[in-house]
C-alpha cells in the first residue's frame, strides 16, 4: 500500500504530464483542460469522444490533481486565481485569489498547494486545509511547470526565462539547487523511480536529463522543435515529448540515437500515459482535439474532439 500511495502522489502531482502505474483495479479517468473553451472535460477511451465538461472561469492554463481527494486545482494566469474543482460533484467548489499570473501548480497530501507566479517569479505555498497565511519562495524568471517528487520532499520548478530548474526543499522552503538547463525550460516529468527528471527546453529543442540525487544535468538529448510536454512510460524506458512546432511526439528510448516520431494534431502540448503504458493522450492546442497514441505500434489511433485550446491532459484513477 505504501508503494501504491507514492505512485498515487507521483501521478497526481504532475500537471501537464502525468505518468501513472501500479494501481490494480482502479478506474482511470482522463481529463483535458481547454484554455479558450474554459472547460475541464472528461474524455472516454472507448467511446472516442468527450463525456462531460465542467465550465471554468476564463483562460485556465494548467492543473494538478490532489493525491488524497477528488479535487483538481486549475490556474487562471489572466485572472490571478486558482479554481478548486470537485471532480465527483463536477463543479467548482471555490476560487482562490492569487498574486500575479498563476501558471504551474502542484498539490501535496493534506492540501498544500504550490503555485508559480509567471510574472512575479515566485512560488506561493498555500495550506488549503488550514488558516495559515500563504508563504512565498523566490524562483527564477517566468516559473512554468511545477512537479513534486513522490515523497513530496522536493519541488521542481522550470524557470523558463532563466534557463534553469529550481529544486526547493518542501520541509523548510529553502533552495536545494538551481540547476542550469537548456534554453527556455517549460515541461518537466519524473521517471517512475523518481531518479531522473526530464526537462523540455522549448527554445533549444532538447531535453535536459537531471539526476535527482545529484541535482545536476547528466545528459542532454535532442527532441525536436519546441518541446512543450513530457511524460515517462511506467516502466521508465521511454520518454515522450510533444514537439509543438512540428506537430509530433518524439519517443526517446535507450541511451542514444534519433528519437522516433509520431505525427499528432496542431501544436501539441500536454501529454499523459496510462498505467499500463500502452496508451498516451496528447492535447493538441491548435486543432482542438486529443490524439490517442498506441505505444506498442507508436501510432496515432484516434482523435477526440474537445473544447477549444486544450493544453493539459491528466489521468486520475480515483473513483470520483
Amino acid at each position: 500500500m505504501r508503494r501504491n500511495l507514492s505512485w498515487m502522489r507521483a501521478a497526481a502531482l504532475l500537471s501537464a504530464c502525468l505518468v501513472y502505474a501500479d494501481v490494480a483495479g482502479a478506474a482511470e479517468r482522463i481529463y483535458v483542460l481547454s484554455q479558450t473553451g474554459a472547460k475541464l472535460t472528461e474524455i472516454g477511451d472507448e467511446a472516442g469522444d468527450a463525456l462531460s465538461s465542467i465550465a471554468l472561469d476564463k483562460a485556465p492554463a494548467t492543473l494538478a490533481l490532489a493525491p488524497d481527494a477528488p479535487l483538481a486545482y486549475v490556474t487562471h494566469p489572466d485572472l490571478g486565481s486558482v479554481s478548486v474543482v470537485d471532480l465527483a460533484e463536477q463543479r467548482v467548489l471555490r476560487t482562490i485569489k492569487m498574486p500575479g499570473s498563476p501558471f504551474g501548480v502542484a498539490v501535496a497530501s493534506g492540501g498544500r498547494l504550490y503555485v508559480a507566479d509567471w510574472n512575479g517569479d515566485e512560488i506561493s505555498v498555500i495550506e488549503t486545509a488550514g488558516e495559515k497565511p500563504a508563504r512565498t519562495v523566490k524562483a527564477g524568471r517566468a516559473p512554468a511547470h511545477l512537479l513534486l517528487t513522490p515523497n513530496e520532499k522536493l519541488l521542481f520548478v522550470a524557470n523558463r526565462e532563466s534557463n534553469s530548474v529550481s529544486a526547493i526543499r518542501t520541509e523548510d522552503l529553502t533552495i536545494a539547487a538551481t540547476i542550469p538547463v537548456g534554453h527556455a525550460p517549460f515541461a518537466i516529468a519524473l521517471s517512475p523511480d523518481a531518479k531522473r527528471l526530464y526537462v523540455g527546453n522549448v527554445q533549444s529543442g532538447n531535453v535536459s536529463v537531471i539526476d535527482v540525487e545529484q541535482l545536476a544535468v547528466i545528459e542532454t538529448r535532442k527532441s525536436g522543435a519546441m518541446p512543450y510536454g513530457a511524460a515517462v512510460t511506467p516502466d521508465g524506458a521511454r520518454v515522450l515529448i510533444t514537439n509543438q512546432q512540428s506537430g509530433s511526439v518524439a519517443v526517446l528510448a535507450g541511451e542514444n540515437g534519433t528519437p522516433s516520431s509520431i505525427r499528432v494534431g496542431g501544436y501539441p502540448e500536454g501529454i499523459a500515459i496510462r498505467a499500463d503504458g500502452r496508451r498516451a493522450y496528447v492535447a493538441n492546442w491548435f486543432s482542438d482535439d486529443v490524439s490517442v497514441l498506441d505505444l506498442d505500434s507508436l501510432k496515432e489511433i484516434r482523435r477526440i474532439k474537445c473544447p477549444g485550446g486544450p493544453r493539459s491532459v491528466v489521468i486520475s484513477h480515483r473513483k470520483p
Partner: protein, 178 residues
C-alpha cells in the same frame, strides 16, 4: 508609503508595461488563414519555398537571410511600416511542402505580439492548391493589465491581417495578377 516610493512603484509598473522583453506569456492566441490558389501545388511551393525569399508577401519590403532552408536559418524582415523582425527557421519539409519558424527578436512597433511561431503549408485542393498559414502567439504586453493596443484582441487582429495580406499577395503572384 512615501511619495517617492509611490512614484518609483508607478515607474516600475510603467516600465513593466512598456518593455515586456521577449516574454512568452502564459496564454497563447491562435490565428489560422487559408487561401485557395488556381495553380498546382508545385508551382505554389516554388513561389514560397525559399525561407530567404519573402518577395511574394506584399507586407514585407525587405528580407535579409542566412542559412538557406536548414533549421536554424534566420531572416531579418522589414515590414511595410518600416519596422524590423528577426525570425528563425525550425523545421523544413520539402516533401510535405511546409516549414515552421519562430520570432527570434520581437518588435512591438512592427507587430503587437511578444512571441510567435508559425507554419505555412501547401496542400492540393481540387485542380489547384490551398495554402494554410497558422500562427501561435502572445499579446504584446503579457502582464494581466495590458493596454488596448497590446492586448489579446490587438495581437489576434494584427496577426490575422498580417497572414491575410501575405496570402492574398501570394495568390496574386502565383496566379499572375500582380
Amino acid at each position: 508609503m512615501t511619495l517617492f516610493a509611490r512614484m518609483m512603484g508607478a515607474l516600475a509598473l510603467w516600465i513593466g508595461a512598456t518593455a515586456p522583453g521577449l516574454a512568452h506569456g502564459p496564454t497563447p492566441q491562435k490565428a489560422e488563414e487559408k487561401i485557395t490558389i488556381a495553380a498546382p501545388p508545385a508551382k505554389v511551393w516554388a513561389a514560397l519555398k525559399e525561407f530567404a525569399d519573402f518577395s511574394w508577401n506584399p507586407g514585407i519590403t525587405k528580407t535579409e537571410a542566412t542559412g538557406g532552408n536548414a533549421a536554424g536559418a534566420t531572416r531579418t524582415i522589414t515590414l511595410k511600416n518600416g519596422k524590423v523582425l528577426v525570425e528563425g527557421l525550425d523545421e523544413y519539409t520539402a516533401e510535405s511542402m511546409s516549414y515552421g519558424y519562430r520570432l527570434s527578436t520581437e518588435n512591438l512597433e512592427a507587430l503587437p505580439v511578444s512571441f510567435y511561431s508559425a507554419t505555412i503549408a501547401v496542400t492540393p485542393a481540387g485542380e489547384g492548391s490551398e495554402v494554410t498559414w497558422i500562427g501561435r502567439f502572445y499579446r504584446g504586453d503579457t502582464s494581466n493589465f495590458p493596454p488596448e493596443n497590446l492586448n489579446d484582441e490587438a495581437a489576434v487582429k494584427a496577426m490575422t491581417e498580417f497572414l491575410q495580406e501575405g496570402l492574398t499577395g501570394l495568390k496574386a503572384k502565383v496566379e499572375g495578377k500582380s
